[in-house]
Symmetry: C3
């Protein structure tokens, strides 16, 4: 056993505390502004505009002559969603509101015509809807939510994904629960050994009872953790050995631990998952206070025939074993935690334990490094 | 082109405004009090009392020996709805509460017996439920909601409908959205040319691109509008001609414009609609803050065999083309506007354009002329 | 007629009153603390823990080696419900949280292990979940909700039920409505003669029109009432005789009145119901502000073969006639009263009548005798 003394920062968390060293993180109920986020699968955005709520804001995505645009999904006139509008002027990059024909330029959001008021309408050029920078890469539409000048796309999206040879298997779902509970579950070093024991993915894997010496590892780009040896089974005082009867011959411990790291504004990198050779990413994109869009991305660097071999394996095996079944156990926990944090004061009542030092490191990291917190005015 | 300068009153509407010249209209979230309203189809009120919410108030309608009555739908004892009650004393105009047999006179709401406390119950004559004046005319039950002495019924209900020769085709539905959004959509001069282009009713009609010179016309009884020539197609700067390719031989412009006028407390008269010879009325009767009862009435003045011919045409054609399909497009817009006005501060954030001068005239007209605004205490 | 003067305490209830002589009762939105309550049928609690909300608190019931336990259904770590947990240490009385393996002693709620942090986890012995005293008797699991030392079980649960010879027929349902409305409906002396006239149970019973001289009877353990002769039919001024035409030969008045008494913290005893020889109990156990668990218990003191004869009769007849049909009429009233009391200020607006003197006696009895009122902080 290589157990270390309990890190002192845990002591800061007590039921009587009045403030936390991560107040900006606690404020970020709707996520962090001024970042690039994945918004949807490219193949979902075709002729019809698509409405999406991100960080509590209502957006509409439009594809015009192949190019993607994002605007505030609300006509400034009477508030009708632009997502039920169409393009009335072929050859232009515009969208026209279904109600009175107010027409907006997709690139800057400016009102360029109000059809039913005639060509000389004085509203033209006077009103504008917000627009959002958009990039389409690797089968995904990405959007910048913020008010600053957007940083280079490559600064926010990891090169593993943007690499020319990267082949992606992607699953996008809506999940219940605040985005921070999902993010913390993703980084959480300790639940895997207990929660995921009975996943289909791990039928042949022998899980340890616990990890030792879990400590945060903070880089300038992310928060991960280091760990000591895992212990296959423990003798718990007054309770006995756990797990018992687990010497099944077909189960073997993993040779190398996976490496996980959580990045701002809220995405996780796991290498490897669900199987050696595949790098896993997951984004927790806030929708509203109690829901998030969950993007799961399996990445393999390969080309040509092997790319198709990977796609086949993803759709035949890894999607169901990893993204659906294994991560579905996480989804259930995130949903079950949400009432505690959203209704019952969980942020002030939670009692953390030793391995959660990784999570408090993440919270402080966000507090110190995040560009801007988003919450309802 | 006969475009006029933008009416100055539009200038009053800006995102920074603190108050509007129609504050009583903004207050009328639940409609206007002291008016006669249509409540339901006569044929819906038979032996069983019917509960309806109007202007946020809970009412029960009762038919007793053919005559209609309306009362507050709440026994003053323990609050049980009187609408589950029955008449226990045949020959009297009373309703008895299902729970303890408290019995109320339908005409004045006075408690005239408490069956389970015996004939000498001291509660008799001590409590009263509110009553509402009721008229049954032309296949509809009408009710006066207010606290003043009701004006003559004919003052609030147009003579087109009450005329002896008037034959009515009526549709009653529940719709989502505050009643004012429905009323403004009804009067709105500009959306028709764009929104209703693809309705089944207008397959053979060539729509103009826009109307010119739309100006409010305020009488002492209603708000309508006048308009200049309609323009079939326009050349929109930097965008091009609209509509394009609309020279279909089977489409012809309408010869005469329809005349629309919006009346207090919230009903529209359109002459003609959906076809020459039929006058259309629609009432927007507030149910609660975000729902209204929508009464559509097609009126034709005729008698005898022609009356039956009109009824047949209404049920075969006009109901489906006009009331269901065409007005269904309006219903969708009203529902889509509602979150903006009810949740997102739309009354202060909307940006109106030139043709909306008709709506602001309506708002000011209500502000100055409405009997009383209704909202939750 | 033996009518008495209206009891003066009724005068205290008027629409303009500012306070009532039963303020502690009005405060008890979620019931009364420091009492034993029935929680569920024994046969419902098997291998899997069962989550139940009682008095607004979230509980989990666990059966371990036959014995029942109740704990706060919320892991102190991240708030995940313990009801999805299992026992990981066979032979111990513990439950382990599904998320990180925090393990709690069922008898005192102490955290005795955190599996994923290893045997030396410092959280062990540091955190605790609330526990609730539990008794399992007569096919029911009972729980003490409170913070005082629980009184002897026999003090809160009537001996009719605990008697060795008592055979029970039990029905447990969830009902809509605040628990106090259900309790008052149970004691209410006056509604039965009107509301339950058309129940299947009473096809052969001739109901009186009203009871006379209904007066509360307060013992040191409960509130019941006495009554004068019942009157089969009355002549109501200006309305006429009621009921009319009720001389059906197959209907006969009941020989003896039933005796009802309402006990703290909210259960009713009716002797006999639904038929002579059976004593009826019903508990109104608050779930949240607008729902309660409804326990109906038919009790017969008998043994051996007669016990089975009673069980057969209960399941063939009395359950359907009494618990389902007859009491279902009460359930409807309780549900219909709830919006008045929960949303429309009913506690201050209700207008009580003479027989309700029994209810006001109950309210004052609770105000003076209840151990502690429960409401949200």
């Amino acid at each position: 056993m290589t157990q270390q003394p309990l890190p002192t920062r845990i002591e800061e968390i007590s039921p009587t505390r009045k403030s936390t060293p991560w107040s900006r993180y606690e404020a970020a109920v709707l996520g962090f502004r001024n970042y690039w986020y994945p918004a949807m699968l490219s193949r979902r955005l075709r002729r019809k505009p698509v409405a999406v709520q991100l960080l509590g804001e209502k957006l509409v995505f439009v594809r015009s002559q192949g190019k993607c645009y994002a605007l505030e999904n609300r006509c400034p006139h009477r508030g009708v969603p632009l997502s039920i509008g169409t393009c009335e002027f072929p050859g232009t990059h515009t969208i026209t509101c279904r109600y009175h024909g107010w027409t907006f330029d997709l690139s800057d959001g400016l009102c360029v015509a109000a059809i039913t008021d005639g060509p000389d309408s004085s509203i033209v050029g006077k009103v504008r809807v917000s627009t959002y920078p958009v990039e389409e890469r690797k089968g995904l539409v990405w959007v910048f939510i913020g008010d600053q000048k957007p940083p280079p796309f490559e600064e926010d999206v990891p090169e593993d994904i943007l690499d020319e040879k990267a082949v992606l298997g992607i699953r996008v779902t809506q999940r219940i629960g605040n985005w921070r509970l999902a993010a913390e579950n993703g980084l959480d070093a300790s639940h895997a050994a207990y929660l995921h024991r009975n996943a289909w993915l791990t039928v042949f894997r022998r899980f340890p009872a616990y990890k030792t010496n879990v400590l945060p590892e903070i880089s300038n780009r992310s928060v991960g953790y280091t760990q000591g040896p895992s212990v296959l089974s423990g003798e718990y005082p007054a309770l006995g050995r756990w797990p018992q009867n687990e010497q099944q011959w077909w189960k073997n411990p993993r040779k190398r631990p996976t490496v996980s790291a959580l990045h701002l504004p809220g995405f996780l990198r796991v290498d490897p998952f669900p199987t050696p050779g595949i790098v896993h990413f997951e984004w927790y994109v806030p929708s509203d206070e109690r829901h998030h869009h969950y993007f799961q991305i399996s990445v393999k660097k390969t080309t040509a025939l092997n790319a198709w071999r990977f796609r086949l394996a993803y759709w035949l095996w890894w999607r169901w074993l990893g993204h659906v079944d294994f991560n579905g156990q996480d989804a259930e926990m995130v949903q079950l935690m949400d009432p505690f944090y959203s209704e019952e004061g969980g942020w002030g009542r939670e009692r953390l334990f030793r391995p959660d030092v990784v999570l408090t490191a993440w919270r402080k990291y966000c507090h110190e490094n995040a560009r801007a917190a988003q919450s309802r005015e």
